[in-house]
Subunit: 369 residues, 2 copies
């Protein structure tokens, strides 16, 4: 079965746009004298990862231990596992730390205690702080838990407390540059206040989200940025103002399989197993992707604003009564769609096509054969 | 890296429950003298597919041409591609039809015309009717389009019009047995009325959804059933009354990575890349999975009703203030979660563990390496 020119749904990378995104972010980090440790959870690709090397990137963040193994096997030597430490994987962390410089994330005093009691290999540790996102990590001003975690970590001489980190996911829910930047400033102040509580002046401070990394032009007061999504961007980032349309480097290409003019609908082969079910809310309800003009090797912004309005497992419905898109739609035609959330869409698809160049890999989950 | 006893998130099949689900549905089809053509889009697994053979199953439904290739390579000889025909894949359909009995789905007069004009290989065709779901297919009482499609198909002698099919997805949105059964009866009447319009008395009538296939005890008036989800069931099916809790044959096992008693939260490694973002709505908001009692090789219903209340890419939040689950939670502990939508969760995970027995495969998408 030859899918080298697939008529089936597939995910297309515009490599030029992608390289520009990497260049812009790495250049900004350099100009601001902060360390750039991009989050590879977005692309999960050896191929795309290699593009970062062209801009001197040597440190990366990943979102699972399995992903750390995936990239370590490709010669990445400085890896932060951004998801909080899972005691059940202790041996696997230690095994990997023998082949690369591995940093773990500790999100609670309890986790610190478990790690310290069992660890037999030198490891770097980042302490995860919750600076307002309310998801995971030690609350930034909870001095008691923070000091308790540090005490535990210090009790094991193999553990090196390297810094404090935050993932300020709140910024994904804001929709003005002003609010995103303000939220970022607040999170930096909280990181700095927490460092004061620790009394350890040389702890590095690390910040992680794409919206603020895209919109903030100085990174005063922190030492490291860890954005991930910016490599592709997507409809969500475009909607909140993190990027221009022309920065979006990823689109799904889907065939039309039914046209229903009386209902105002185009039906595509392209559903939740392709896009994920992540959505953004419009006045008319949730939408799952933005239609773009497909140009063979790339895509452009459409003059019409049309969305996928419904998704089931394999089907997408584009409700667009009266549109040119509907008037011209034909069974078999390929349409380009900007996904709502590039990370999840890439994870669903498990691989990419690079326009004009062939395929690129995406990590498979560990229970896959 | 050995994940044979994984501490990372993984998807567990209880094979005994799964076999009972297959036995019950195949037995009911046999008792009702209807053909049983299960939809393999739920499990997408060669291993699980083989379990169906033990109950005499020889005909299957799949949701993409790629999936047809996947199962044909394992000796499945009678395959219906349930997603509507994509003209761009014409050659691939014809190539596969040389190795097995392949049925295509035609969802519009336009698609019928394109297929008829280009097809050079004998193929069976099912015409997809929309009996009320408003997704895809010829509207059941649109005589004009139906006859036009049939005329086109008949113009190519290689095409054999085999029957009329519906996927009455409306039943997934209903929440009483009474409404589901009534909706089913209506769809059967509509299929029968459409067959009358065609004037072709020997067209088979085929019906597809798990809720009605689970709850209807006779299948009077139709010839074939194509349920898929029943092989595992899930929280959505349990919620609308399609199954008992004890029928659910699939659970995600996820480690606790942070416990936040003051907030009433447990944080697990288990996010949208594991569960999918499909949700069901509760009074308190959307939920993404139901907590069960993990028993090593299987799970049981918990005495507490606790849900995953928030999901990001890799994290799940279980908000359960005052619960035993929270009081006893410890970093590293493994929890069992019943997924909202088994098909999407399996597709996200890309593979299974069979309790006490090892791994099972799940098809990878075509752009994967």
């Amino acid at each position: 079965m030859n899918f080298s020119q697939p008529a089936a749904p597939h995910l297309l990378i515009d490599k030029e746009r992608c390289m520009l995104n990497i260049e812009r972010m790495s250049g900004k980090a350099l100009a601001c004298s902060v360390s750039f440790r991009p989050h590879f959870k977005t692309h999960q690709s050896i191929e795309v990862g290699n593009w970062f090397r062209e801009y001197g990137v040597k440190k990366i963040t990943v979102s699972s231990l399995q992903m750390a193994y995936y990239f370590a096997a490709q010669g990445w030597q400085d890896i932060l596992v951004g998801i909080a430490y899972n005691p059940g994987e202790q041996k696997l962390y230690e095994q990997l730390a023998q082949n690369c410089s591995l940093s773990l994330t500790i999100a609670s005093a309890q986790a610190a205690e478990i790690l310290a009691s069992g660890c037999t290999t030198p490891l770097d540790v980042m302490i995860k702080l919750d600076t307002g996102y309310n998801r995971s990590g030690i609350i930034w001003d909870d001095e008691k838990e923070l000091l308790k975690a540090i005490k535990s970590l210090k009790s094991n001489k193999r553990l090196n407390i390297k810094g404090l980190m935050t993932h300020e996911g709140t910024t994904y829910t804001l929709d003005s540059k002003h609010d995103i930047i303000n939220n970022y400033r607040q999170s930096v102040e909280r990181l700095r206040a927490a460092r004061q509580l620790t009394g350890i002046d040389d702890l590095i401070l690390s910040s992680g989200d794409t919206p603020s990394a895209s919109l903030v032009n100085d990174f005063m007061g922190i030492d490291e940025i860890r954005p991930g999504n910016f490599v592709f961007y997507d409809l969500m980032q475009y909607s909140i103002g993190s990027c221009e349309f022309s920065n979006i480097a990823l689109a799904m290409i889907c065939p039309v399989i039914d046209v229903r003019p009386a209902r105002g609908n185009i039906v595509i082969h392209g559903g939740a197993v392709h896009f994920s079910k992540d959505s953004i809310q419009k006045d008319t309800g949730p939408v799952y992707g933005l239609m773009a003009e497909y140009k063979g090797n790339s895509w452009e912004k459409s003059t019409e604003e049309i969305y996928i309005t419904s998704l089931s497992q394999e089907h997408g419905i584009i409700h667009c009564p009266g549109s040119k898109l509907l008037n011209n739609a034909k069974c078999g035609q390929q349409l380009a769609v900007i996904p709502v959330h590039a990370c999840l869409t890439a994870d669903c698809m498990g691989g990419y096509y690079i326009a004009g160049r062939g395929k690129a890999d995406h990590m498979k989950k560990s229970c896959q054969h």
